[in-house]
Assembly symmetry: D2
Homo-oligomer: 467 residues x 4
């Protein structure tokens, strides 16, 4: 029963921590790269675990298509025009049924694609097989060694006869490899689309150093994706993650949420709705005032740490829960991390704990690693937003007229962000109202968006922060 | 890491469906009942899987004690007095760490206990071992055959030298067995405490037929237990159950909840809080009006069935979702049952479905069996309420003066219900206000409860229904 | 603009506090009773302020009809049958546009009506005029003296040629007067329908003393009315009442709600939704546990009184907020009472306060009188529920076969309660689901209600309390 | 009882619509400006209604001080330093107890102030008197003629011996007047602080035209003020405004909210919490998707207009509710406007209505003018945020080193916005957490704010919109 198979896809932005090329090459006999592989139909140039699993993989892709109507819709809406005709995309992402829908959408829009995995554990082998059978050159299998990981990327980048003109990256490893081994490829590249915080950070570093060789699109920070990855996804997943790992009831429990950004706001709303008594810690007075107005007491963790049943960290900062807090917590207190940094809970200093004893003193879920990484799954809907945004970014970069983008890091234009959102509205049977000519003129905007007044907003924007 | 081990304890009230004694006896060599078993300490009269697991079981019991402070508190508060001194309790319940805390609480209060399992799948063997080592005669193991199930009950009921004076039953099988095989035991019995709806129904049938031989206490319908089993537990578990089996996001999803009783109210509140758009179906105009005022549109299922993303049945009635509804649902629509009856979804007529095809047409979770049975776990807190209520019922029946209870089915006196609630308040660090003499007089009640005005309430009560 | 005229109708159950007949009779020249009054059409037997206002009053009644579709619907549904044909109803209620719709509904169903006011301040003179013009004998005007109040009741009760066979009372003054002055009328009376808590209390006292001479129907405690008068009405009115009298923002404010019954539950839900941080005080552990599970900390008032911004009493008890609490509150703390008793706040002992000083020390809204009496209005919807229930009660008592009702106090039969609810569903465009024969049989109930299983409920009902 | 006096202060941003200087001068005998006025203490140069009301006005100011602890706190924190020493502030705002607290705070910080009213109706005469007695030259009274309005501004601007170096304006009339009559004053002006949308729009026009002569601070768009004026204030006021003008119950009512910006989000949240069934109309797909995820169906108004009970416009656009919508609404449907534009409801075309008939066909509250202008009041807390922001803006502009601000329109620096927020935290007994040096370094920000990561945010900000 396929819906029961929980897709333990690592949350975007969480990945293995090697990002230097391997220094030595070990060969292991059983590696797929040592096998001769043939696909009856499809490319000869690939390396996966087992082509015979393709039919099962195809079923999984078909199921994922059901859950990603936005991409399917995009195929229909833009498909006739082949906006990616001539594009040669090399990609490096998790290889799952959902990304397969993305890859096949790119292909349907005209692109040729070659793909490697951005994570050694997350490849769904059957899906990889189905992609190969459908003509995509895939180099990936579940359980690659570090050495194999780079080998796959290296073989994926291109051949003498096929050189990419677009890069779709998640984590920056592919981009890095090209920088290091094939810098000459950049002269053909129209752009890089990057998904992860880590990869974007690297791109900004390159840009700052004047070493960015192509336009890059920061997909992670698009408005739509941000809201869904942070506020909405966390609001829905925090309860399930905690329930799945403990059998706690939330009603009446005293919970501290550290940080009242989008993630914290989502967690607080969900916990409050189920009857938890939620306290907030904040360093920023504006966020603190918002927490007050939303009905949460703002306290310091140390003031209340002895009485609480749960702490959830959502700050992105480090050492938010310290050893001295852990020491004071009552028996069975749950500590978990929803933030993007794995250092929010001070587990370095916690190593002195005798873990057998901790058990009866407190519960630090999954050794302080991300709760939503370890205990939760990413819903198709979030993946659908991300994938549609990636597709739009590729289309935009590939089709942009000369001069629109320089060698810098860009956000998706507002209008395309709006387009991604509009692709998801039919799922909710939501009907947009259209502006009349008269109204559009009154607001000083185009009828078809982007839908912000052009009034004096441009001046304001540089001051507006996320609150 | 023990909290990760999800306790797949069948929800109380859900059990295997054989309740007739076996007609033939099959012997299988590997059955624990064919082994000679010895406990160095503890009774010689028991039959479990493996006594050597006792230490691990003891750890599990100790952990459960952490989560059931109400029972631990009861040991402290009532313990000195041994209110169950002289009680000989024969019990038949799920045998888990949580029931072990109950059994050992009874023992601490002075009772001698013998125990069998009410379910062939739910026994935690290590816990059974720990109980035996602690001196309880347990006859139970995971995976009993039907024949073994009755063998265990039979051996548990008593010996020539030990005859029970109290029965604690969950499902009515033990009570049935005594009725059928050892009716003479009733002359010593001070009472039966029954936990399940099924068991209570049987007791009322006996009472109606004039065949009930002892006072019986209906634990299932105590106010505290009802609220927790229905409203609060379902409010918390519906989201998790659905998330765990599908990866649905609730935000923006259109959901029909059939029935707006306590279970429906809990489901609706939780779904609304996470951003689902919830519709209600009702037959009772009073409940329907409540749904309106609480912000839910009241519709007939057939009016909206083509547009919805999910149906959740909470009626206790049968055939609420019919084949003609299933036929009209859109692709991927989720149907699940939170009610007490497994016939809410008309799966009899659904057998003609080709299940492979259904997959892409709709998802009937776990073949229409209870969602919270199959996909969720019962939190310790709910179990704690139930167990404390069972303990109080035993104490009440055992200590009641002659004549307080006749051969009928009773509810726990209001005051004891209040006592169970008060045992759980320290978990929430909740502080009760005490009435002044003056205030108690003004309200016409005792300072120490029961806390309903004695005004003209007695006249009203026979009219008040649950809304 | 009529909707702007706030209808300062005293909340049902709150009334002037004289309930003894006047001992002396003062005449004041300008009293309507000293005027000769004529209605061109309509009865000659009436006494109101000014018949010439009838047209304006008629407009107000027509507007109220818009807001009370349930009664209008009742006219349509039952009207053809004239279920009150032959009924002679003497009534004593607030005389407002809404009660006029009730009275004219009774008339439309066949009754002859005579009416007096139950409150010296609440009569809408124009409405009284319109009723007279429509043929109802009304004896009431705004601003009656105590003496005039009893004079009106006395003249309303009947004449030599017209004697009532039904009484509709709100407060018990009319019933009292008949007991004292016209006890012989009881032999014709088919029953008394009473609306207020005070009146019902008197009826139960009579019943207890064996002195109740007719069947009486307790309208106040019908399920539908209870829920609407307490939970839903208070949930909606608490915010408005406080906003209208102070300009407080609720977000972030710390509020104590004393009592977690229906009124308290409504207040807590509304305040929490607007971002207040709500604490609860309770004496009953079951209600306290519910408050915990619903997300409210349960504390004693004295623990937190120094820190809070607001206290709202909803207990029905007295002296809930004491002088020693008031002394400790911080500057500007708001204290208000939503309960049915005006003694929840200990203002007797507060008289020593210098009120000028209080102003800067704390705010006791409207000197501790009921917040919703003084600062809020009763919505038409609540009045509609009450009026429809009163009409159904009259119909039931008038048409009941001999022997159904004895000389006792009764609640409206469940089925009629359901009928009142069903009359209000069209307002919400709510569509009831109808049970199939099969389902009704499975549940053991009639297809047309009452919708509670007849299973073993009758045994349970005497134990179920309101939680 | 002062809290009962509802402060009908026009909502900021709503004002009388003359903004051209008067073309002719009418004298009316009874005008305060024709009286000789003397203050025993305080300035000789003022013009108000009646100096003898000063004591009553002082009491009102003292009460307002209780409600504006942030300004009082600012006096304490910054007072010793006299950051406005030497500042000569000419102000033009509503003159109320709350602005008096602001003006006296400026004075306490060292400024000399002269003040006129920005609205002919809103001046509290007693407060003006108290200000004069305290030494502020005030030129304002309730009920000025248009001519007197400009006369007051003209006399306020300065004298031969006193010339302003700072302007605090609300609506832009004062700034306009100086531009037109005293342009030479600009050479001494250090800056203009403007509060209203209208005034800011004028400043941006000047800036665009290259005619802005001084730095200007846009107070209206500071993050803190925006959130409070829009999201939080509207969330709290929408219910009260509707309840106060109609006696509607929200439970079960079907409501369309047009626009899902901050105002719409606030309205939707409040209505949903009270049990309304809320639909949203949107033109922007991103906002529409947010509405979906938050649990609101997104529809077009025309699809549902026949069935709804209420429409609330929050778009800022015009003609959102058109005559053709009004025609289709059901009897009693309420239409109201929470947006900043008074043209959201198409009442121009509605003039053909016979208003007597409308009454029974639909209710357009207060002829389509702003609901919260007409029926609600601005809470002290919102005023406190605004006033504190104005004070900070004056301090910043007055003390900024040469070159920090050019002749342009600026937003308050993020850090000062945070300071304003922090001034309000003590009201909620909220305790900020302080970053450790280590954490600040990890985040790349200062320990004392501003609290946004300096990472790559500067690049992002120009793309982030308000969602």
């Amino acid at each position: 029963f396929p819906f029961m198979i929980l897709q333990q896809i690592p949350f975007t932005g969480q990945k293995q921590e090697f990002n230097r090329p391997p220094t030595r090459t070990t060969r292991c006999e059983s590696s797929p790269r040592d096998k001769l592989q043939k696909s009856t139909k499809g490319p000869s140039d690939f390396c996966i675990k087992n082509i015979s699993q393709a039919d099962f993989g195809r079923k999984e892709i078909e199921m994922a298509e059901q859950e990603m109507p936005a991409l399917m819709n995009l195929r229909k809406r833009a498909g006739g025009e082949k906006p990616l005709a001539g594009a040669k995309v090399v990609g490096c992402t998790h290889i799952t049924a959902q990304t397969a829908v993305l890859i096949e959408t790119l292909a349907a829009l005209g692109a040729q694609c070659r793909w490697a995995a951005c994570n050694i554990f997350s490849t769904q082998n059957a899906v990889a097989a189905a992609l190969v059978k459908a003509g995509i050159s895939v180099f990936a299998w579940r359980g690659e060694s570090e050495d194999e990981f780079w080998w796959c990327i290296d073989h994926c980048v291109g051949t003498e006869t096929w050189q990419p003109n677009m890069v779709l990256d998640d984590g920056g490893d592919l981009t890095d490899w090209i920088y290091k081994k094939y810098p000459e490829l950049f002269k053909n590249l129209k752009g890089v689309v990057e998904e992860s915080i880590t990869g974007i950070y690297r791109l900004y570093q390159l840009s700052k150093a004047g070493r960015l060789s192509v336009p890059a699109m920061n997909v992670n920070d698009s408005v739509t994706k941000q809201k869904f990855d942070n506020l909405y996804f966390c609001k829905e997943s925090v309860l399930e993650g905690l329930k799945r790992t403990t059998d706690i009831m939330f009603g009446g429990k005293q919970v501290v949420v550290c940080g009242y950004g989008e993630v914290g706001k989502g967690c607080c709303a969900a916990l409050k709705a189920l009857g938890a008594i939620v306290y907030v810690t904040e360093v920023d007075p504006i966020c603190a005032l918002q927490a007050c107005m939303d009905g949460f007491r703002v306290i310091k963790l140390s003031e209340i740490v002895r009485h609480i049943d749960m702490v959830i960290t959502c700050t992105g900062n480090k050492n938010v829960v310290m050893r001295e807090h852990l020491d004071k917590m009552k028996n069975g207190c749950i500590v978990c991390n929803m933030g993007h940094s794995s250092s929010e809970i001070d587990l370095v200093k916690t190593h002195v704990f005798n873990w057998d004893e901790i058990l009866f003193q407190m519960v630090v879920i999954i050794a302080g690693r991300l709760l939503n990484l370890s205990c939760s799954t990413v819903p198709s809907f979030v993946l659908s937003i991300t994938a549609a945004t990636q597709a739009m970014a590729l289309i935009e970069l590939y089709n942009a007229p000369e001069g629109r983008y320089n060698k810098d890091v860009y956000l998706l234009p507002k209008k395309m962000d709006e387009y991604v959102a509009s692709l998801h509205l039919p799922i909710f049977d939501a009907h947009l109202t259209e502006l009349s000519d008269d109204q559009a003129k009154y607001m000083g905007i185009s009828k078809h968006g982007p839908f912000k007044p052009n009034y004096y907003r441009h001046k304001l924007l540089s001051h507006i922060d996320k609150h």
